[in-house]
Symmetry: C2
Subunit: 164 residues, 2 copies
């Protein structure tokens, strides 16, 4: 992990800490995905909402794409369909691949990128940090919904606070 | 809003931006609270979970207490009971009072506080930023659950992305 930010005083959160924060949330989300039974992952929902598999696919459309966009200034369009992912094992493998890609791109993201005006996914205006915070928040939001699905199915979700 | 951080280069997120981020989430959570019918706010839940009123009370136990703790290094113990809040109007008023208090304390939080080791609420070890991020994430997590409750009740939740 690179340490170019460690000598900067008075950072609210430094770059290494932000990666740890993001990856910590990804661990909780992965555990949430693992907790779903195969069938309910792709079929269960409440109130006409998307299934948890669909919510995970939305996250997978945004996660490493954002890391790559911040690292290379090249943004792909969102692909939330991911029709090729039809099993829990495939979703978990795709999740792990994204996690590796995020770690790979992270070292190439400059500190200046976080305050730069960008057009994420070719369509959303924001700053680097605001886009990244948005996609982390979106993951937390939908994972919280996954917790309700699990509770409704009589399954205990992972602990929210165990982000390690 | 104070601008002591505006000249610092290469911040991932500066202090004014972090307050705007937090207050933006609070606006969405307030809209979520407003969207609940009075009775269901205090009685409806799924899978044995807490009601949305109880989740809001947990947020109210953490929000301005965290801002005060970071500003003054004085941490109160968590009080999630808040038995005195028995109506939606009282929860909304308490929410608005906390929002005002957060804004009041914010200017007294030093940049150094975010990286300082603290014991939040007298019991949780962390850094200033990690505690603050945790309570914002906790709000997002439980608000996402409130969205499911609303959908289950046939009510359209507010837009997640309208944080202004």
């Amino acid at each position: 992990m690179e340490t170019t930010t460690s000598s900067t005083s008075a950072q609210i959160i430094d770059k290494d800490q932000l990666l740890t924060h993001w990856l910590g949330h990804r661990k909780v989300t992965r555990r949430t995905l693992e907790a779903f039974p195969e069938k309910e992952l792709f079929e269960f929902s409440i109130g006409g909402m998307r299934t948890f598999a669909q919510l995970i696919k939305e996250m997978l459309a945004m996660d490493s794409t954002t890391a790559r966009g911040l690292a290379t200034s090249t943004w792909e369009a969102l692909d939330e369909e991911k029709a090729e992912l039809t099993t829990k094992a495939e979703l978990l493998a795709s999740w792990d691949k994204s996690t590796e890609e995020i770690q790979g791109y992270w070292k190439d993201i400059t500190m200046e990128e976080f305050q730069k005006q960008i057009k994420a996914f070719g369509q959303y205006d924001g700053t680097g940090y605001s886009i990244l915070f948005y996609i982390i928040d979106n993951e937390i939001h939908h994972r919280g919904q996954g917790f309700v699905y699990l509770r409704a199915l009589g399954i205990t979700p992972p602990n929210f606070w165990e982000q390690y």
